[in-house]
Amino acid sequence: MSTLEELKQLIHKTFDIDAATLKADAPLEEYGLDSLSLAELLFAIEEHFNVDLPDSRSGVNTLAGLAALIDDLRTPKAA
């Protein structure tokens, strides 16, 4: 499963939003997420993907953006 698809399933599990309605490039506010529910989602992402999201996520407010960020964080860095 792609990270994007996994993310959609996670949002469905967390907020009961139909995964089929989630678009990769739409701002998350469009689905009714506010600053509080977004904070909860980011926590759920960290738990699910075992990543530590950076405090500054400027510009990342779409699923595609989040998926790219997660993939980046999960890529082993060269020493």
């Binding site: 967390t14 689905y31 997420l33 509080l36 904070a39 980011l42 926590f43 738990e47």
Partner: protein, 403 residues
Amino acid sequence: MRRRVVVTGIGLISPHGDSPGAVFDALMAGRSAVARWSSGGAPPALAARAAFDSTHWFTRLQLAGVDRVSQIAVAAAELARADAGLDALDERSGIYVGTGMGGAAAIDEAFARYAESGRVPPLTVPAFMPNAPAAHIAMRAKVHGPVLTYSIACASSAVAIAEAAKAVALGEVERVLAGGSEALLVPGAIRAWQALQTLASPESEDPSRACRPFAADRTGLVLGEGAAFLLLEPFEAAKARGARVYAEFAGSGVSCDATHLTKPDVAGQVRALVAALRASGLSPADIGYCNAHGTATRAGDVVECEALAQVWGDAIGALAVSSTKSMHGHLLGAAGALEAAITVLALERRSLPPNMHCGPQDPACRVALVQEPHAEAPQLRAAISNSFAFGGTNAVLAFRRCD
């Protein structure tokens, strides 16, 4: 000039259900909602849980950061508003909420996760803050007036109702949702209560009979959960819109023992009882029923009976007393509101809910208990509800029939 204040709506999420009529019927029949409670490796306990289907009131997205204590508060407040026949509230309305602990489930989960992984869910603070229930009710009902929270342990919601009624009487607000919410049936909170050595023995063969207020063999209180709200408005406004009036809020008395953090005090309770009578213009002979604080602790029940005896004097035998905690448990911060609702329904129906599970009565508790289910009181005109808190605050609410 003070306006007369009446109760025109009741909303409940309680151990006996969410319909005020059905809840009162169950209590009149003497049905207990106390059952065994267990969770994980926690020691056995008894509790009166309130059935609640959050999906009926919230989407999953709306539930982000909303603790159970706020969920049931929103539901009970909405039910009270609807029961009063009101479609909406406005900027001249207020919300007065009592809660003892706030979001216990959020705290419990946060501490458990912290111990396990060091990570704490990000919405822990907005979920557990004690004024969250009031804020959620305000957002749901679009109330822009005073939205206030009272945290006074077991007197929280009684004081909230007293303060709300005062604000309506003085013309500060036109309509209020006043009540309380408590939801602390989570392992950490229950263990804290167990550690305090105040809970009824879980060894009882029949858990439903574990809470025995005023009984010689009582062993302590049983924790309950739930939310209860009253819609209060001026008598004239209720009459003008043709609203059903359950009862009139007659007055209240609040005092503090200022003697001990947890040990109740006769003199302090007497001051609250006398103040409630004075504020309501009622004499002891006018009061036909007392919904007692009666938690079924060894010390508390005796002190309450002594306080009632001091104020009522020779007339104490004519005061019918019951602790409905014998059936719904102790809702702590929401207890005063649930018991105020029960007292109001007792007046409306002229029926007295029983003090269940009291076999031989403690000789040190010399009050006339309502011993049997289905007691009628055709002459009942006024009643009081007692709430006495850890911290020493005592609150007595007085209601009278409106006819």
